[in-house]
Symmetry: C2
Subunit: 401 residues, 2 copies
């Protein structure tokens, strides 16, 4: 068998991980032949001859069979992937921000140029979510995908709820360990989870929803009183992404903190781990759990995509062609908890029904049913307020685990 010759874009932690994993896997039949990086002068751990700063050296090389792209600049990633696909070169990518914004065009390009783009590593690192949604749950029985898709925010919440630390100390520790970026907003405001959810939904239900249309709320405004409220009730707060069918013809999706009870699978997804629950009409719930990020776990997921190319594997996007694809709706009610300071939240948010209200010198909160469309309409008004919002309970079925 001929070795697959790989042109690699990016040699950060993930890129170096791929190099290591390919060396470890003696039966891989794949080798990196060229690596495109931004900086020519940076010291490198491997032979300088591998490196170039000119993308064309890879993109127009006739000897390269596959491009693996793991740079963290979404705009540059888009240009490289598009250009490769247009030239008929298959690509493995890990860039969720880029994929979430450009998937429809990239799917068209795959069809038009009869070429594959694989990206299992983009969602939940070493957990094979995309591949299983595409190949194993490749039918219309799927009802819901819900999970903890971001390791950094989960690490922070886990320090708070499993190790009784305060939020600021936990965030600082996550940064010290390299789990959270020095600008942690991507992880902590929920955007990383959002991008993964957009990609997952394409393979779960065959429908693409642009990230801007999806309600996303993070954990950066959490206060001690929110944490105390959760602890008193024996909940953990988790940052949860979910896509769920609310009827035969409709589904909804959002990213939001959630009060999670002990009976649920994701309750025990601690530290930097990811966990995904896949629920379907006949198989009930499947739970997949593993390391969602990090150099080697992500690299091993990329290895699976590289190996899949040896057998000419590509995503078929079969569900996009189902006759009765469900439609995205935000016309659903959620039960949410909103803790607020000075702002009177009831003047901003219209609740369908309020079930609890609490005021004190320390904090105020309200719990009630609210339309998801109302939350989306008031996104701007909620921003930069001393306010924390969390999904109070899973609303869509009683037996939810």
């Amino acid at each position: 068998m001929n070795k697959i010759k790989i042109g690699l874009f990016g040699f950060g932690v993930i890129g170096q991980g791929i190099f290591q994993v390919l060396e470890k896997s003696r039966n891989a039949h794949a080798e990196i032949v060229k690596i495109c990086v931004r900086s020519a002068s940076k010291p490198r751990s491997i032979d300088r001859a591998y490196f170039t700063t000119d993308p064309e050296e890879i993109l127009s090389s006739p000897s390269i069979d596959l491009i693996v792209e793991v740079i963290d600049d979404a705009a540059a990633s888009y240009r490289i992937v598009k250009s490769a696909l247009q030239r008929g070169i298959p690509v493995v990518s890990g860039n969720k921000a880029m994929l979430a914004r450009h998937l429809p065009e990239l799917i068209d390009l795959q069809r038009k140029h009869n070429v594959a783009l694989l990206y299992d590593a983009s969602s939940c690192g070493s957990i094979p979510v995309i591949r299983n949604l595409e190949e194993y749950y490749d039918n219309d029985l799927l009802l819901e995908v819900k999970g903890i898709l971001n390791g950094s925010s989960n690490y922070i919440l886990s320090r708070v709820f499993d190790h009784n630390e305060n939020y600021d100390a936990a965030l600082a520790q996550a940064q010290a360990l390299g789990f959270a970026e020095s600008d942690p907003s991507f992880d902590i405001e929920g955007y990383d989870s959002l991008f993964k959810l957009v990609i997952i939904t394409v393979h779960a239900l065959g429908v693409y929803v642009h990230p801007d249309r999806i309600f996303t709320y993070g954990i950066s405004t959490i206060h001690d009183s929110d944490i105390q409220y959760a602890r008193d009730k024996r909940y953990k707060i988790k940052l949860v992404a979910q896509v769920v069918k609310v009827s035969d013809r409709k589904f909804t999706m959002f990213v939001m903190p959630e009060f999670v009870t002990k009976s649920k699978y994701i309750y025990s997804v601690d530290d930097e781990y990811n966990g995904v629950v896949i629920r379907g009409e006949c198989y009930d719930r499947q739970f997949m759990f593993g390391k969602g990020a990090g150099s080697l776990p992500t690299a091993s997921s990329i290895l699976s995509d590289i190996m899949a190319r040896q057998h000419d594997y590509r995503y078929e996007y079969k569900k996009q062609h189902y006759l009765d694809k469900p439609e995205y709706t935000t016309d659903v009610e959620l039960k949410v908890y909103v803790r607020y300071a000075e702002t009177d939240v009831l003047r901003i948010l219209h609740f369908e029904r309020i079930t609890e209200q609490y005021r004190s010198e320390e904090c105020n909160y309200v719990i009630g049913n609210i339309k998801l469309s109302e939350l989306i309409a008031k996104r701007q008004a909620l921003r930069n307020k001393d306010l924390f919002l969390a999904n109070f309970q899973s609303f869509f079925n009683d037996l939810d685990r």
Copy 2:
């Protein structure tokens, strides 16, 4: 797209489940056209015209594209599957006992007649273990697959350890609920787990080991004193199947009760659920969890195999062709607990090292290191004795979860 025409063998709980699942899945493009059953006179829930008692009516029908075989008679299953493959008809099978005994021949037949045999439903029902080992973990980084593969025995142990019932009451309840057969030995003596482990190992490491060569010990001889011992130490006893690389060149495998500590993933696999931990060199541990048995979960797994056939999917058995496939060894030491009554266990079993010994009027036990080969050699001598044996701790790595 033309509908796949299916000839079904067996119309028990699983067969009826497949019928239901295909009706529910509107995009399945597959239909059952003929069903072969043993009894012509039994009342049926669907139109009589579907049924035949003559296998040839399916096997020699030119209009049938795929055979789905879910009968519980392993000998008859073998004849049907072999005959279908020899005629070039692809097969989906759920019969683990048959597969575990005949896989090498059935793999040869697939190659010789260029035809597919899929059997994801045979191992862990709705959890996609085989497919992921074959496609996603299709490299040589895999170190271990370990799990709870049998729902009935796990249900019984879960009643004991999570609900404080006694063993006999739990067994009776499992039988009443239909989780355990009226002759429960297949589940409870570990053979069901063993057969699944044999199949899993073919796809995990590319090596077939005949079930007779593998140490298998069940839970039927468990006593109150064993349960009390575990409870005192805050362990649960679980029936665990595992295959694990013990060096670059060697692996071992066995099915045995194990004392499981709270820190391990499988500790929280309760009731009739299955859970599988996949450990690899770069991705660490993946945990997959779901319903391992039952009519609809198994049927939905069979549906995945049927759908896969629409894209001409077949197992490639790539790992069988690795140059450095590991070898099966029983020359490994385990740390086991052996509780015994009259029999002096030390006269039967040669321990390498004894670390604990306890004698009382109620019970006697010994804990120590023993060779797996010694356990295999003494299998007959251990049988029909008032004796219970359990893996005391995972021996192969300290950080085992």
